[in-house]
């Protein structure tokens, strides 16, 4: 089971979210509670449209819940202004989405450096941090390539590097492997896993891809607006 000595890096309490109004109103999340501990990878499964992305977006401060409380590294996020949310995202949260969404014409190095540039890290220092993470992901030779010259798998690994270069406390990965083939998917997931263990990052990863189960420390299931532990694989995750 979860290592109890580590305090949760992120926590959702009683989160609800609906879309639409009146008779078209559809409650996607119903009073969800969730703890994400340090250094552990949580896999979020559930049928299409069950609300996985909604959970991740709320957790990543990209969307606001209708009700409930979000806590990131001990801080309760209330009705914060967008500027404050942006700064918190930059400092503490990394994102990987289904598509890499790299900035065209910028080299891989520049793309990975973006969050550090936004943070205002000095150029030299930022470059060395980028090189370090590129080395860890075995892709130092791609540093000077623009996204146009990279394969889908390489692009996605650049996105992983960009998400982790700031050493975030929380990593949010929404179907990071769904556009990749088997090998690339495994490589990407493995990269996420090893970095998050090394950096102590709390990871939540939403996926349909059963092959990623082997990387999970914990698997959660989302259905009908409710979150349940996956009973079958839960034990396997802690092996």
């Amino acid at each position: 089971m979860i290592d109890n000595s580590s305090h949760p890096r992120a926590r959702l309490k009683g989160i609800s979210k609906s879309y639409g109004e009146g008779s078209a109103c559809q409650e996607v999340l119903h009073a969800i509670d969730l703890d994400l501990p340090e250094g552990s990878l949580t896999l979020l499964e559930g049928p299409s449209g069950s609300g996985k992305s909604t959970v991740l977006n709320i957790l990543g401060l990209l969307d606001r819940p209708d009700q409930g409380e979000i806590e990131i590294d001990g801080r309760i996020i209330g009705q914060w202004a967008e500027r404050k949310l942006a700064n918190l995202r930059n400092e503490e949260i990394g994102f990987i989405f289904q598509s890499a969404d790299l900035i065209p014409r910028m080299t891989a190095l520049e793309n990975i450096r973006l969050p550090l540039d936004i943070r205002g890290v000095a150029r030299k220092e930022a470059n060395s941090q980028v090189r370090e993470i590129l080395d860890k992901l075995n892709m130092a030779e791609l540093a000077s390539q623009p996204p146009e010259k990279l394969s889908g798998g390489q692009r996605q690994r650049v996105a992983v590097a960009r998400a982790l270069v700031t050493r975030p406390k929380l990593l949010i990965a929404d179907e990071p492997t769904s556009s990749l083939d088997g090998d690339n998917a495994r490589q990407t997931a493995s990269a996420i896993q090893s970095l998050c263990h090394e950096l102590g990052t709390a990871v939540i990863l939403a996926t349909h891809d059963a092959r990623l189960r082997e990387f999970a420390d914990r698997i959660l299931h989302l259905e009908d607006g409710k979150l349940t532990p996956d009973t079958v694989t839960d034990a396997a995750g802690t092996a």
Partner: protein, 410 residues
């Protein structure tokens, strides 16, 4: 700098669109610059005309009220002989003054023995007149007045035709003296010349100061024309001269610039300024609408990318700055090209020697565009800054919404 890097990348992303927007900017700015260069040259040469051609000098010194009450009570507001000498002495001490000369503004009747008609005349020292007139190409018949002439005069072409006189022939001038008696003097027509203005071509005359003083029976004059040394600032020289003239107790004087004295100059300058302002406004509106439109399209295309940047922690203000910088860079690059283009086109126009005849001027003038780099760079910076400012607003489409909605955009 991050936003500068983004600007370049984004501007190169839609090359065609950037090119078209730049062209609007360039064409608009060149039109503004060329007009400004043309205006500058025209006003400059009008200033020359006023200072030397109208024989006003850069500054005019006269008794206070000479321009207003002096029109009715001419004698009271003229310098008499001793006053003129004292005032000239003070003015000539000023180190900025190149030349100071007495000037009379005469009027009366001119006769050829058969008919008579109203005339206006300026009377000045022929040596000074020679200096002034040598600044322009001589376009009359005969020879202009030179130092030493005493009884000769230059007669406007139209007036000479009405009076049916040629060079060498005589006219008689009638007027009242400072003691209010009738007087007449003869003047020999030394030259006939076009005055350059249809308003004066049928009544104007230039005569030696001595002849004018003889007609009015005075040693004095109406005013003093002051020519400043090269590079002296008009307003500063005026202030200094005013201060120095204070020492002449009991004789209140005023100092006027040629801008104030030449109604023609002032009128033309005002009209040019108005046309320029209007042109600049139109160009500004067209160009800024173009930039706004381009940046709106860019923002729409980039909503998703901006969503990503927001997810990475870019604040709304930072994103606005990104857009502002993009407009600024676009404006500056186009502005620099436009400034260079303006210089090139101005040069071509100047060497191709195009002439035209403006209204109210009795002769062809060369179309000349003055290079005014200071003003052109000012226009460029102004336009670029405004392009930056209007580019900020389109960013709103990607900032207003939740990050997740921006990311969902495709």
């Amino acid at each position: 700098m991050l936003s500068f890097r983004f600007s370049l990348i984004n501007l190169l992303r839609q090359k065609r669109r950037t090119l078209i927007t730049s062209m609007t900017l360039i064409v608009g700015l060149i039109a503004v610059n060329l007009f400004q260069g043309y205006q500058s040259d025209t006003v400059e040469s009008l200033a020359e005309t006023a200072a030397y051609g109208e024989m006003l000098g850069h500054l005019g010194v006269m008794k206070e009220g000479a321009d207003t009450k002096g029109k009715i009570d001419e004698i009271t507001y003229m310098f008499d002989g001793p006053e003129l000498a004292k005032t000239l002495a003070v003015i000539r001490q000023d180190p900025d003054v190149a030349l100071a000369a007495a000037r009379m503004n005469l009027s009366g009747l001119v006769s050829n023995g058969k008919n008579s008609i109203i005339f206006l005349a300026v009377a000045m020292d022929p040596a000074v007149l020679q200096d002034f007139q040598e600044k322009f190409d001589w376009r009359g018949e005969g020879q202009p007045l030179v130092a030493g002439d005493l009884t000769e005069g230059q007669v406007a072409k139209g007036l000479a035709e009405i009076m049916e006189v040629d060079t060498g022939e005589f006219l008689t001038l009638f007027s009242t003296t400072v003691k209010n008696q009738m007087n007449a003097v003869d003047v020999q027509v030394k030259a006939t010349y076009p005055t350059g203005s249809t308003a004066t071509n049928d009544k104007f005359m230039i005569i030696p100061l001595a002849l004018g003083q003889k007609l009015y029976r005075t040693e004095g004059a109406h005013q003093i024309s002051v020519v400043l040394k090269d590079g002296v600032k008009l307003s500063e020289a005026k202030a200094r001269l005013e201060a120095q003239l204070e020492q002449l107790d009991g004789m209140p004087l005023e100092v006027k610039t040629f801008r104030d004295m030449s109604a023609f100059f002032k009128g033309v300058e005002d009209i040019y300024n108005m046309i320029f302002g209007f042109l600049f406004l139109i160009v500004l509106v067209v160009v800024l609408m173009g930039v706004f439109n381009t940046m709106t399209m860019a923002a729409m295309e980039r909503v998703r990318e901006i969503g990503m940047l927001r997810a990475l922690g870019m604040t709304p203000n930072r994103i606005r700055r990104l857009f502002g910088m993009e407009g600024l860079v676009l404006g500056l690059v186009a502005g620099i090209l436009a400034t260079l283009g303006s210089a090139g086109i101005a040069h071509l126009i100047n060497i191709s020697n195009i002439t035209y005849t403006p209204p109210g001027i009795s002769g062809a003038v060369q179309l000349y565009i003055a290079m005014v780099p200071g003003k052109w760079i000012g226009n460029m910076i102004f336009l670029a800054l405004l392009a930056g400012v209007v580019s900020i607003f389109p960013a709103q489409v990607a900032i207003r919404c939740q990050v997740v909605d921006a990311l969902r955009h495709s």
